[in-house]
Amino acid sequence: MKAARGEAAGSAAPGSPPAGPAAPGASGAPPKGHGRRALLGYAWALLAIAGAWQLLSLALGPLVLPRPWDVFRNFAGQIQNPAFLGHAAASVRRLAAGLALGFAFAFPLGLAMGRFPRLDALAAPILFLTYPVPKVLLLPALLVIFGLGEAPKAVLLVLVAGYQILVVTRDAVRNMDPRWEASFSTLWPAAKAARKTRRLLALARHVLVPCALPSAMTALRLASGTAVSVLFIAESFATDRGLGFMIVDAWGAMDLARRWSGILAMGLLGAVFFEAAGLLERLLCPGSRRRG
């Protein structure tokens, strides 16, 4: 067959019909120069924040807000300090475990709620009633239930990340373009004879998961920011490790530069997880047009 020429290229994101021009880098690979642009963006952001910080420091005085240069110098020293690196490693472990477990629980549950109206009718009201509750308020109860170890912090982070991923995944499945499922059904004439479980698993693998994953990954990126904030509070209680503990400890010792180094480290930690989630999204959702 000869190729028909003069046809306009189109593009489609999961859940929407194919239309419009193809996005650059619409395949799995990030757009050319993406890494360099991202680094330049962060360099600009650091300069802008440092400028505003310097002005605020001049206005408030260094006892309230230390000068950025002093904090950067302290931070450069801290990252060679094994104790600081230990605190940072503990925070990274908690954050990674909380986000991963949150995703592992929430994504399948969101798929199931989006797919099965009866399950959704039972679970959605519970979800909507508990979603707005600030999860950090549960920390004292979690400490009582799970003890003083890592478990209550992990559960808190799982709740914080999981709720966001759950709501978004459920909605992504519910709002999925019905054409995808109809299209899938035309490809498998033997589906009617196949077991129901096998049919459902095939549908989940080839349609539901790819449709919902880009939205869930975006929720994961947003959750990573929220989780850093909650991590600070979780590490303020019943632990002697983590950046949150270090910040509170430096606060008590009136060590302003160390305290702000910890705050800077937490900000960087959030940015790294945000970018890592974006990278994961590009790897797992190669046909998606969502780009960080």
């Binding site: 067959m1 000869k2 190729a3 028909a4 020429r5 003069g6 046809e7 306009a8 290229a9 189109g10 593009s11 489609a12 994101a13 999961p14 019909p17 194919p18 193809a22 996005a23 619409a26 395949s27 054409r179 995808w180 109809a182 299209s183 059904s185 035309t186 490809l187 498998w188 004439p189 033997a190 589906a191 009617k192 095939a202 080839h206 349609v207 790819p210 449709c211 959702c285 190669p286 046909g287 998606s288 047009r289």
Partner: protein, 243 residues
């Protein structure tokens, strides 16, 4: 090789609203039938029934193929290639669902792409190729498992006029080359005249067959520019207006 398709007295209702009543049709093995009607005239419903997407108890009437149980491939409107899979992976999917081993899937999907003139586009995503290329890839996906009957629901409606005519020719040649039986739903009068060995006109509420028009000269060289073609389009137009 294609299979003959026969349907008698098909009827379908959605939520108490009757959308299709008493539709009968017959297509010879290797032949083509164009189903023409305005938007909402029940063409897609008819193709859904012929494709076997509607459970047996959910419609009235009979659908038979000769030989019985012939494979049916359905190309939906807007083609619906999955944008999260490459073109090649889209073509491999029906084979995977049918349980074909990985090497065979790759071989058959690649062969189908080459046959459709898309051999170099297997690694692209559907949103990175043109509308016509997507349509051909979707046709390849529908037929890669070796169906006997092709059901095409407004397959060219999203294309511009020139691309549509070229694709009509190439798809027609592809189906004829394989000896496949085809049923093509369209709202285009010229498209129906160009692609159907016979044409049925759907109309009314609920939709029923308002006219049956034979098109014996369709495969004659130069048919599209002939007086017979224009007479046929006038006849279809009149039937549509009266429907």
């Amino acid at each position: 090789m294609g299979a003959a398709v026969e349907a008698s007295c098909l009827g379908k209702s959605y939520g108490g609203v009757e959308v299709l009543r008493g539709v009968s049709l017959s297509v010879a093995a290797g032949g083509s039938l164009a189903v023409v009607g305005s938007s909402g005239s029940g063409k897609t419903t008819l193709l859904n029934l012929l494709a076997g997407l509607v459970p047996r108890g959910a419609y009235s009437g009979e659908i038979r193929t000769d030989p019985p149980g012939a494979g049916r491939a359905y190309l939906m409107q807007d083609c619906s290639l999955f944008p999260w899979k490459t073109v090649l992976a889209n073509l491999e999917l029906p084979l995977a669902l049918a349980g074909a081993p990985k090497a065979e899937r790759r071989r058959r999907a690649s062969a189908a792409l080459s046959e459709l003139g898309l051999g170099s586009l297997g690694g692209r995503y559907p949103q990175e190729i043109s509308g016509g290329e997507r349509q051909r890839a979707a046709l390849g996906r529908a037929l890669v498992t070796g169906a006997d009957v092709a059901l095409l629901d407004e397959p060219f409606s999203a294309l511009d006029a020139i691309a549509r005519e070229r694709l009509q020719d190439s798809v027609d040649a592809f189906l004829a080359g394989r000896g496949l039986t085809s049923v093509i739903a369209t709202h285009g009068i010229e498209e129906a005249a160009r692609l159907g060995d016979s044409v049925i006109v759907l109309g009314g509420k609920p939709a029923s067959v308002r006219a049956r028009i034979a098109n014996p000269e369709r495969r004659r060289r130069g048919f599209r520019a002939s007086a017979a073609f224009f007479r046929l389009t006038l006849e279809i137009r009149r039937a549509l207006e009266e429907a």
